[in-house]
């Protein structure tokens, strides 16, 4: 089976966010594979181990994203592709990202494409379904289980707490929800092997795209932090009295009950 996993390099979830000159400051931040994409990579490896084939991890970004690709290779992916847009593009929106990925994938005959259901930075969850639509293939988002049998997959989709069992035709793109699997940590031999696995670096030219083809439709005009939440009142006194006071405050001051 020809399997692709789409990954994004994101801030570590531990990072605090700060803004400098109207941009999110990246100095000194730790970066990781977007956690939802990590489920996608893990599932891709498991599907390959069961059904055979090859897993390619794909990302768009700068040279720095090579580290996250190597991590995915160390987990067990076979090949990696970095589409480096650093020199060509200052900005990229979901329309552009999906266009690039779909252009790259259109002649690859992927049987299964896996992605995270959302990236924890941009948080839009658009790129997966957009790519499927551009490729003209089926997709199911936020899945917690995947079983493949021939040209059909049976998936369980998380729908705001409900679980739908869906029979989906292949080729298929799925996006991973938490609970799909427990991503493995790269082993030491895995890390050693990853260094020798193929990692292709491409630019827009190589996939016959011009900068104009992926010009942003949606433009960021500002970025800001939410107002700092002030610590409120910690109530005091007898516990019973505290609870009485709390309920009164919620009723009369906060007016939420």
């Amino acid at each position: 089976m020809n399997i692709y996993a789409l990954v994004k390099r994101t801030f570590d979830t531990e990072e605090r966010i700060s803004v400098q000159n109207g941009e999110i400051a990246e100095d000194g931040a730790e970066f990781i594979i977007n956690p939802y994409d990590e489920y996608a990579v893990e599932e891709a490896i498991r599907v390959r181990d069961e059904h055979g084939g090859e897993v390619t991890v794909l990302t768009i970004g700068s040279e720095e994203a090579e580290k996250q690709l190597r991590t995915a290779l160390a987990m067990g992916a076979d090949k990696a592709v970095l589409i480096n847009t650093e020199d060509d593009l200052d900005e990229l929106d979901e329309f552009g990202a999906a266009t690039i990925i779909a252009e790259f994938l259109k002649d690859k005959d992927a049987d299964l494409i896996l992605a995270g259901n959302v990236a924890i930075d941009g948080g839009s969850g658009q790129v997966g379904p957009r790519v499927a639509e551009l490729l003209g293939i089926n997709y199911v988002t936020t899945i917690t289980e995947l079983k493949i049998d021939g040209d059909k997959a049976t998936v369980i989709r998380d729908v705001e707490g409900d679980s739908e069992t869906i029979e989906a035709q292949m080729p298929l793109l799925i996006t991973a929800q938490q609970g799909l699997n427990d991503p493995r940590y790269p082993s030491l031999p895995g890390i050693m092997k990853a260094k020798k696995k193929p990692l292709d670096e491409l630019e827009l030219d190589d996939i016959d795209l011009e900068e104009d083809d992926v010009e942003v439709k949606v433009e960021r005009v500002d970025v800001f932090l939410p107002p700092e939440k002030q610590a409120g009142r910690v109530l005091e006194g007898d516990l019973q009295d505290q609870v009485k006071e709390l309920v009164q405050l919620l009723r009369t001051e906060a007016k939420v009950i």
């Binding site: 936020t142 707490g161 409900d162 739908e164 942003v216 949606v218 939410p226 109530l235």
Partner: protein, 325 residues
């Protein structure tokens, strides 16, 4: 310039979801006095059309077909595009729900358009509208504008005030026929897990438990309090990782991001990832045995104490309040 806006009205268990009324209010804002058309998709939905109109839609177009009983991206995509091609709108609004998140990128790809997901606020009106949305799960916000193509966005539930229902308002509800075919996904079964149908993303009140609940049964008092307040229960990653509850309840940077009117955190220490998912709630109550717990830094009201003492007392107190009211 005035814009024609189409708004997807989302139906769950035979009723319109609140977020659809919020989406209509958002549509009004960007329409610049243009027409706002509600869209209903399902196997039997046109009866709900008048309600969309009472909340501000000018008229409603419904697509009904037996294959639209369950949501699939193929089925709803075909139905929505049938309405789109008839109406040729300049703007489109969906709710940022499981359905909206799944369907909107497909439509955007078909239209080769931009899409602003998860909008919490709209500044300005008509052509000058700019959209505010959370990034890094609410650790920051960005303001964006649409440079080209249709104005297409999804609104996060619970953030944009709906218009008041006007029972005297009426309008035309028409149907569009669409051939819904070649569905590549088929829903075989649905297992409902959510407690009493109050969905976390739309709940006005959330009672969330962390490691401090100590076990699955520890969620019982939390559930009782949530039921009493007409709310939903949620959890921290700690509680999910410890198997006290299902991952679908997880709130945080991985998991759901929620903004209820009242968030009660019981036995949650307040890791930065959890705070990202809930700190934009309007009022936060923290209950924790550890006075140093991080959660107190974002709480409006805090009680240092054992949740198994405090929560039952709150339940009694609120019951009393309701009796006296």
């Amino acid at each position: 310039m005035s814009k024609k806006v189409i708004v997807l009205g989302e139906v769950r268990d035979g009723a319109l979801r609140n977020v659809s009324f919020e989406a209509i209010a958002a549509a009004k804002k960007v329409s610049g006095d243009g027409e706002v058309v509600g869209v209903l998709i399902g196997d039997s939905v046109q009866d709900l059309g008048q309600e969309l109109i009472q909340y501000g839609a000018d008229r409603v177009v419904a697509v009904e077909h037996p294959h639209l009983k369950h949501y699939t991206s193929d089925g709803y995509g075909q139905a929505f595009m049938a309405v789109h091609d008839q109406e040729e709108p300049e703007a489109i609004v969906f709710g940022h729900t499981a359905l909206g998140k799944d369907l909107s990128p497909k439509i955007a790809a078909k239209l080769q358009s931009g899409l602003v997901s998860d909008v919490t606020e709209i500044e300005g009106e008509g052509d000058d509208a700019v959209f505010i949305r959370p990034i890094y799960s609410g650790k920051a916000f960005e303001k964006v504008k649409i440079n080209e193509g249709p104005v297409f966005f999804t609104v996060r539930p619970n953030n944009i005030e709906p218009l008041e229902q006007d029972a005297g308002r009426s309008g035309d509800v028409s149907t569009v026929s669409a051939d819904i075919q070649n569905l590549r996904s088929v829903v075989k079964d649905v297992v409902t897990k959510a407690t009493d149908g109050v969905d976390m993303s739309e709940a006005k009140v959330i009672v969330a438990g962390g490691r401090g609940v100590k076990g699955p049964e520890g969620f019982e008092p939390l559930k009782e309090l949530a039921d009493l307040l007409g709310g939903a229960i949620g959890a921290s990653r700690g509680a999910c990782d410890a198997d006290y509850c299902d991952y679908s309840l997880q709130i945080g940077q991985t998991g759901k991001v929620v903004t209820p009117d009242l968030y009660i955190a019981a036995g949650i220490s307040g890791a930065i990832q959890h705070l990202a998912g809930m700190s934009n709630s309007k009022v936060i109550v923290a209950i924790n045995k550890d006075p140093e717990a991080n959660i107190f830094k974002v709480a409006d009201y805090g009680i240092v104490g054992d949740l198994f003492e405090v929560i039952p007392m709150m339940i009694e107190e609120i019951k009393q309040l309701k009796v006296n009211a």
